[in-house]
C-alpha cells in the first residue's frame, strides 16, 4: 500500500508543479514506483514540465467518468524503467468535473500499485484544492520567501490541519535568493519556519537551471550537478525517512582555502 502526498501552496506561481515533477523524479531515481497525478483540471502543465505532453491519450476526467481504465490513462516516463507514471489532468473541462469522493477512490486504487502518489494541487482553496486533498495521506506546502506566499501558506496549513485523515503538513521553501536573504530584503528561513511552525522538509535555491530544464521538459532532478537538483533529491530522501541536514546556502564565492578545509572536514 503506497502513500499519497499532495503538493500545495495556496498562492499560484510558487513552484508547485516544478516541485511535484522533481520530487516524483527524485523518488523514482531512488528506485520507488511513483505516480504523478495532475489535479489542475483545465490548466494542466505537469505533463509539459515532465515532457510527456504529446503522449497523452486519456486523462483524469476520462478515468473518473469511466471512459477508460486507469492504466490506459497513465503515461509512462521512458527515462525510468517502469518506475514513473503520470496521470494527466483534462484540459477541456474545469475543476467541477470531478468530486472529492471520486478523487479519493481514484487515489486509493492507485495506492495499490505504487509506492508514492504525488498529487499536484491547483492554486486556490476552492474545488480543485478540495479534490487534490481528498485522497492524500500527507501534504507538502510550498512557499517562497515572500510575505504574500507565506500568508497563503499559513491559510493552507490552517485548512490542512482541519483534515482529520492527514498528517501534519511539511514545508518546502522554494526560490531562495541567498544574497537577498542576507541583506534582509527577503524573509529568512528561520522567520518563515517560526511563523508557520511546521516541520521544514527542504529548501531550494532560486536557480535559472530549473527554468531551463522545465522548458525542455526535463525535470532538474535528472541533472546531478545542479544545486536545485540536489535539494530535490534530498527532499525525496527525507520523504523516504532518511535524516539529511539542510544544504548550506552559501554561494560559490568561497576561497580555495575554505574549500580545502571543507574537503578535509575541518570547520
Amino acid at each position: 500500500m503506497g502513500e499519497a502526498i499532495v503538493i500545495t501552496s495556496g498562492k499560484g506561481g510558487v513552484g508547485k508543479t516544478t516541485t511535484s515533477a522533481n520530487i516524483g523524479t527524485a523518488l523514482a531515481l531512488q528506485g520507488k514506483k511513483v505516480c504523478l497525478v495532475d489535479t489542475d483540471i483545465g490548466l494542466r502543465n505537469l505533463d509539459v514540465v515532465m515532457g510527456l505532453e504529446n503522449r497523452i491519450i486519456y486523462d483524469l476526467v476520462d478515468v473518473v467518468e469511466g471512459r477508460c481504465k486507469i492504466h490506459q490513462a497513465l503515461v509512462k516516463d521512458k527515462r525510468f524503467d517502469g518506475l514513473l507514471y503520470l496521470l494527466p489532468a483534462a484540459q477541456t473541462v474545469d475543476k467541477s468535473a470531478v468530486k472529492p469522493e471520486q478523487m479519493r477512490d481514484l487515489i486509493t486504487e492507485l495506492k495499490q500499485d505504487y509506492d508514492y502518489i504525488i498529487i499536484d494541487c491547483p492554486a486556490g482553496i476552492e474545488q480543485g484544492y478540495k479534490n487534490a486533498v481528498a485522497g492524500a495521506d500527507k501534504a507538502i506546502v510550498v512557499t517562497t520567501p515572500e510575505v504574500s506566499a507565506v500568508r497563503d501558506a499559513d491559510r493552507i496549513i490552517g485548512l490542512l490541519e482541519k483534515e482529520k485523515h492527514m498528517e501534519s503538513p511539511k514545508l518546502i521553501v522554494n526560490r531562495i535568493r541567498n544574497h537577498m536573504m542576507k541583506s534582509g530584503d527577503m524573509l529568512d528561513i528561520d522567520e518563515i519556519t517560526q511563523h508557520l511552525s511546521i516541520e521544514l522538509i527542504g529548501i531550494v535555491a532560486d536557480d535559472e537551471e530549473v527554468i531551463r530544464a522545465s522548458n525542455h521538459g526535463e525535470p532538474i532532478a535528472l541533472n546531478p550537478n545542479s544545486k536545485a537538483s540536489i535539494a530535490y533529491r534530498n527532499i525525496a530522501r527525507r520523504i523516504l525517512g532518511e535524516s539529511i541536514p539542510l544544504q548550506p546556502l552559501e554561494e560559490d564565492n568561497k576561497n580555495v582555502f575554505t574549500k580545502i578545509k571543507k574537503f578535509f572536514g575541518v570547520r
Binding site: 500568508r151 499559513d154 491559510r155 496549513i157 490552517g158 485548512l159 490541519e161 511563523h195 508557520l196 511552525s197
Partner: protein
C-alpha cells in the same frame, strides 16, 4: 397550631426587606402579601417612596411572576421595588455566567483566515498569525506572538484587556473601539510582554504587562471571584 407566616416584613436602614417563604404556593404567597400590605394602612400619601428589597429564598420565579410581584407591591403603598433576590438560578443562567467568567484555554495556532471566538476570557497557547483573529467576550491573553487581529470585550466590556508575550498585532479592538497599528510602532524592535487597554479617553493604549495590576486590579480572581 399557629399558622406559619409566609411573608415577613423587616425594616432596615436602606428601606424595607420582605422575606417571602419559599415553601408555600405562589398563589398563597400573593394572597398573603396582598393582605399584609393592605392591613397596616396608615395613610401616608405625602411621604416619599420607600425602597423595598424582596427576598424570595429558594424559589425560582419566571419573568412574568417577578413582574406580577413587583406590580402587587407597587400598587399598595408608596413602595418602590429595588431588587428581588433569589438564592436560585436556572441551569442556563448558571451556564451563561460560567461561560462569561471562565478562562478558556486553547493550545493552537490561529492561522490566516481562521477565527477563534470565546464567550469568556481567552488564554491562547500559541500564536495568532497575520490574517487570523481572536475574539473574546472578556480578556485575551496570548502566550505566543500576536500578529493578527484581537478583539477583546466584544459584547461591550470596555474594561477588557489584551496581553501578549510578543505584541505585534495588525489591529486591536476593545469593545467598539478600534486601533490601527502604525507602521512606526510595528517597526520598533521590542514589544515583548505588553498589554493593551482602553484609557479614559476611549483610546486603546499600550503598556508594560506589569502595569495591568494597577490599571485593572479586577483581573485578580484569587479570592473567590469579584
Amino acid at each position: 397550631m399557629k399558622k406559619r407566616q409566609n411573608v415577613t416584613i423587616k425594616g432596615t436602614k436602606g428601606g424595607l426587606v420582605l422575606h417571602l417563604d419559599d415553601n408555600c404556593s405562589f398563589q398563597e404567597l400573593k394572597l398573603e402579601l396582598d393582605e399584609k400590605l393592605s392591613a397596616n394602612t396608615r395613610t401616608q400619601d405625602d411621604r416619599q417612596l420607600i425602597p423595598v428589597t424582596v427576598n424570595i429564598g429558594n424559589r425560582y420565579l419566571i419573568e412574568e411572576q417577578l413582574e406580577e410581584l413587583k406590580q402587587l407591591i407597587r400598587q399598595k403603598k408608596n413602595f418602590a421595588v429595588d431588587e428581588i433576590e433569589s438564592n436560585v438560578m436556572t441551569k442556563d443562567e448558571a451556564k451563561r455566567l460560567r461561560e462569561e467568567t471562565e478562562v478558556v484555554t486553547v493550545a493552537s495556532i490561529v492561522r490566516s483566515g481562521q477565527v477563534l471566538k470565546v464567550t469568556g476570557d481567552l488564554l491562547l497557547i500559541g500564536d495568532v498569525n497575520p490574517g487570523g483573529s481572536v475574539i473574546a467576550g472578556g480578556n485575551i491573553f496570548v502566550m505566543g506572538t500576536l500578529r493578527g487581529v484581537a478583539h477583546a470585550g466584544c459584547n461591550g466590556n470596555e474594561q477588557a484587556v489584551i496581553a501578549a508575550s510578543s505584541m505585534r498585532p495588525s489591529q486591536l479592538r476593545i469593545s467598539d473601539c478600534i486601533n490601527r497599528i502604525s507602521e512606526a510602532w510595528q517597526s520598533e524592535d521590542n514589544h515583548d510582554m505588553e498589554c493593551a487597554y482602553m484609557n479614559e479617553n476611549r483610546q486603546i493604549v499600550f503598556d508594560r504587562l506589569q502595569a495591568l495590576m494597577k490599571i485593572r486590579p479586577n483581573l485578580t480572581r484569587l479570592e473567590g471571584g469579584h
